[in-house]
């Protein structure tokens, strides 16, 4: 086993232990006064959203670095973090939808955050579809990086524009003066955020390893054709 594999397994183990602890703590929390048990979804809903956001920043940075250096390491990082971010954003949308069904009575509302999250999801899904459509590795990496930059710039504009409509999504409740979220709940949320980030890091590393293997296979195939 290589050092990198050992790091992946160690991180995965740590993430699992931390997640188990968090789930145990969250399960033992009492129900909230008005929402009952469903409010506990916030302990996952918010951390996965933050993780997805981190992933998008990561893929932007990797994309820009690729365009500057033309090093395929960064392209692999960009695609790995975009894919993981997309999965986390999907988890965010699904948990939000479940919560909305119970509290609002509908699965979906065309609200600022929901809509911009969905647009964001579609943009990054488009990124992956674009990659699939291009054969040539350099062209694929370059075009994907350019699209990633366009997509990243779009997200704040989408958010601002949809803000001109009214919103019904609850505002932030933790670590703010108006919020009614007790401090130890905030701590659980922070720990779960940490757990999610670790999980995302593990998944990204696994995906990176896959990408490396793929590149090796491609180069071997090219060598075989050359003879």
């Amino acid at each position: 086993m290589s050092t990198r594999d050992k790091i992946i397994y160690a991180l995965a183990l740590a993430a699992m232990v931390l997640l188990t602890r968090n789930i145990y703590l969250i399960a033992r929390l009492p129900g909230e006064l008005q929402q009952g048990a469903i409010f506990k979804i916030i302990f996952f809903h918010v951390p996965v959203a933050a993780t997805a956001m981190f992933a998008s920043v990561f893929s932007l940075a990797a994309s820009v670095l690729f365009l500057i250096t033309k090093n395929f390491k960064y392209d692999a990082l960009a695609v790995a973090s975009t894919e993981v971010g997309l999965a986390f954003l999907a988890a965010n949308l699904v948990t939000g939808s479940i919560w909305a069904r119970v509290i609002w009575g509908v699965w979906w509302a065309w609200d600022v955050r929901l809509t911009s999250a969905l647009v964001c999801w579609l943009l990054y899904a488009g990124y992956l579809i674009l990659r699939q459509a291009i054969e040539e590795p350099t062209q694929r990496a370059t075009f994907a990086a350019i699209f990633s930059i366009f997509a990243f710039i779009d997200v704040p504009i989408v958010y601002l524009s949809i803000r001109l409509f009214r919103t019904q999504h609850p505002g932030p409740v933790f670590f703010t003066s108006q919020g009614s979220f007790p401090h130890d709940w905030s701590m659980i949320l922070m720990w779960n955020m940490f757990a999610m980030m670790m999980l995302a890091a593990v998944l990204t590393l696994v995906r990176l390893r896959e990408e490396d293997a793929q590149r090796e296979i491609d180069s071997l195939r090219r060598m075989a054709h050359a003879f």
């Binding site: 365009l67 647009v119 579609l122 943009l123 488009g126 579809i129 674009l130 459509a133 291009i134 054969e135 350099t138 062209q139 370059t142 075009f143 350019i146 699209f147 930059i149 366009f150 997509a151 710039i153 779009d154 504009i157 989408v158 601002l160 524009s161 949809i162 001109l164």
Partner: protein, 226 residues
């Protein structure tokens, strides 16, 4: 030769090529009319409520028909390796890009200006009541469509499923511009002028155009040359 002249030459070349065959413009126009016809079955076309969604309908038509024009913009250059010749020509990538944007802009605008009166007649919408303000919105919205569409037309020209990829990639990116244009158009066609309530959308639309024109000019060299 200076930059503006190069832009003009590329734009003139594209417009001339299109106007001699009219393949993209005719297709886009026919397509716009077909969608306008289809909408009449989707809801009661004589109802008062039609006016509330007029902006949305119009911009969906514009965006769908516009893509047909934009798809041809770089695909037209594939025959006889014209694209390679264009890129190899002593023209900066930014000038080539801006020239193509201008040509696409006028072509899409032409399709829109024909669709607008047809829409007004079919759906009994008094779209001329705020004519110049509406023209401003159409001009700004179309510029956004032309800029984003041209970049992605260059990006998708060599890839599989080109015709599908372009709309798939540009509509999500266009959402802020389309939202602004739809809101403003809906207001303007019922005679509500641009005022303090909706001027934010106009700023958003203009901001979108400025930001994406700048980003596109910055990245187009990478798209075309690699």
């Amino acid at each position: 030769m200076n930059f503006a002249r190069l832009v003009f030459i590329v734009a003139a070349k594209d417009l001339r090529a299109e106007l001699r065959t009219k393949e993209a413009v005719n297709a886009a126009l026919a397509f716009a009319l077909v969608i306008l016809l289809l909408f009449s079955f989707a809801f009661d076309p004589s109802a008062e409520t039609t006016r509330d969604i007029a902006g949305g309908l119009l911009w969906i038509v514009f965006a769908f028909a516009g893509v047909l024009v934009l798809n041809r913009s770089f695909a037209r250059e594939l025959a006889n390796d014209c694209l390679d010749a264009l890129i190899a020509a002593p023209v900066p990538a930014a000038a080539l890009f801006l020239g193509k944007v201008l040509a696409n802009y006028f072509l899409v605008l032409a399709v829109e200006l024909v669709s607008l009166p047809v829409f007004g007649v079919f759906y009994n919408v008094p779209w001329t009541s705020r004519f110049w303000q509406l023209m401003l919105v159409v001009a700004l919205g179309t510029w956004g469509l032309a800029v984003i569409g041209t970049v992605f037309s260059a990006l998708t020209v060599n890839i599989r499923l080109r015709e599908v990829m372009l709309p798939l990639l540009i509509y999500p990116i266009m959402i802020p511009a389309l939202m602004g244009a739809m809101q403003l158009t809906s207001d303007l066609v019922v005679g509500k002028p641009i005022g303090p309530e909706n001027v934010a959308w106009l700023k958003m639309l203009a901001g979108f155009d400025v930001i994406y024109t700048a980003v596109s000019l910055l990245l187009v060299e990478t798209v075309l040359v690699g």
